[in-house]
């Protein structure tokens, strides 16, 4: 079970900086990492509590970690982050100057903190790791905030009524449950449901996006189904056309072969006539052959009418393809797929237009270049 032990011993840490110092906290304590946003300052808070933010409708206090640790923090920059951590079943944001990386370290490599660490009270410290050229201090969040009393409860009158209502509605489970239900149905191919709840904030936004997507899917689905229903029929028709043209070509070729063979008989008879041998017989034979050939040639002409029959079938198939194309285009427009290049598929069809095809002369020139 050595392997299992190794896995257990790997610590995953979120590394961040406050001031000039590097820190890490266990990734399992981190709910999310957000960019800096407006912090609403509230009166009468301990000086290390900066205020509250509205995180998708939930009001969350933000702690000034620098203040708590007694070190100098930098000003807010584009790198400033608020790490949301779980604390006593509540969420708390901690303000850090930057989030650097996710570290994977063996817990064996976690060193005991030296007895004197500048500026940081050692009771918060789980240990120290060496990472590249610097030391990172691994914080014990639960220890760090053990004295922290959540001043902010839902009943707290300091929170404005609007924020309270947003918080209550947004976290209501039935809405989330409905979203889960509808998206699950979508994944199963059922696009008929919609989310009929009236929501605010980012959850509401998600619900509206899902509903908009559903509407598009509802409009497009029957179209696609209708169009694709016809495709097997079209390919069957095309197979029949191939068969029909093959048969017709063979039949015509058989007739042509008969005419060609008869030419040899005519030639033979003409040689006889030339020599003056059995002129009457030869002339009679030639006459009969010519009459037969006339009939055969007429048969060939009528046989060529297969082009008309197959042509009509092919026209029907072309209009079907155009119909499918139209519906696919509609799909592209509805979903706003703009990257045309991504939609271009390598066609297995050869270029039948002949525009890019070389003719025999060009091929011959090419062959000549290679010494043929």
């Amino acid at each position: 079970m050595q392997e299992q032990k190794d896995i257990d011993d790997v610590l995953q840490l979120v590394g961040f900086t406050v001031g000039e110092e590097n820190f890490g906290i266990n990734i399992s304590e981190v709910h999310e990492i957000n960019r800096f946003e407006q912090i609403n300052r509230l009166p009468d808070l301990p000086n290390y509590v900066l205020g509250v933010i509205d995180l998708r409708g939930v009001v969350i206090p933000v702690i000034n970690l620098a203040e708590k640790l007694g070190i100098q923090s930098r000003e807010v920059t584009k790198d400033t982050r608020i790490i949301i951590i779980g604390f006593n079943e509540e969420k708390v944001g901690i303000l850090v100057d930057s989030v650097s990386e996710v570290l994977r370290v063996l817990s064996n490599n976690l060193e005991k903190p030296p007895s004197i660490i500048k500026n940081v009270n050692s009771e918060y410290i789980r240990g120290i790791i060496r990472n590249n050229n610097h030391l990172s201090v691994i914080l014990d969040i639960q220890q760090l905030f053990k004295d922290y009393n959540p001043l902010l409860t839902k009943e707290n009158t300091m929170i404005s009524p609007e924020i309270k209502s947003v918080a209550r509605e947004e976290t209501s489970d039935p809405a989330i449950e409905k979203i889960v239900e509808v998206t699950k149905a979508m994944a199963d191919g059922n696009f008929t449901q919609e989310i009929d709840v009236n929501l605010y904030g980012q959850v509401g936004e998600i619900a509206r996006y899902i509903n908009a997507t559903l509407k598009k899917l509802q409009s497009i689905e029957p179209n696609i189904a209708q169009a694709s229903d016809k495709i097997p029929e079209a390919s069957m028709q095309l197979s029949e056309i191939t068969k029909a043209t093959e048969e017709a070509t063979h039949s015509i070729m058989g007739q042509v072969e008969r005419v060609l063979d008869s030419q040899d008989v005519i030639l033979h008879n003409l040689f006889s006539i030339e020599k003056g041998n059995g002129v009457q017989n030869s002339a009679g034979e030639i006459k009969q052959i010519v009459l037969d050939n006339k009939e055969t040639l007429l048969d060939i002409i009528t046989g060529l009418s297969f082009q008309d029959l197959t042509g009509q079938k092919i026209k029907a198939i072309i209009s079907l393809i155009e119909e499918v194309e139209k519906r696919v285009l509609q799909l592209i427009v509805t979903f706003g797929l703009k990257d045309k290049a991504a939609l271009e598929v390598d066609s297995p069809l050869m270029d039948l237009s002949g525009k890019s095809a070389l003719n025999q002369n060009v091929v011959d020139n090419l062959l000549e270049e290679f010494g043929f």
Partner: protein, 130 residues
Amino acid sequence: MLDLKLKILVVDDFSTMRRIVKNILRQIGYSNIDEAEDGNGALSKLRQDKYDLVISDWNMPNMTGLDLLKAIRADGNLNGIPVLMVTAESKKENVVEAIKYGVNNYVVKPFTADILKNKIEKIFDGKSGG
């Protein structure tokens, strides 16, 4: 001069095309003609019997004409057999690829009896001359 006793293998997946080529060959004067539906069929025939010329299409199921050409050139017993491509694959890169793998000549569909005759003559003139 054309040796009309040449044994020729015509390879095309379309029976009509095989018949057209055979008819033209017969009009030229060849009578010893066999046919195969694709590269695989052609290879097994070539390994059973002696042929003097292969006339092959490019685009066929199972084994394409190009793969047939490669297989013929890679087979010590067959690599001397001339191969004439008769195909609708007429893009420059196709022609160059066929040349690279040792095609003896290349006819673009649709073609005339004269072109086919010329190409066959050229293949065997070249052989006797060089």
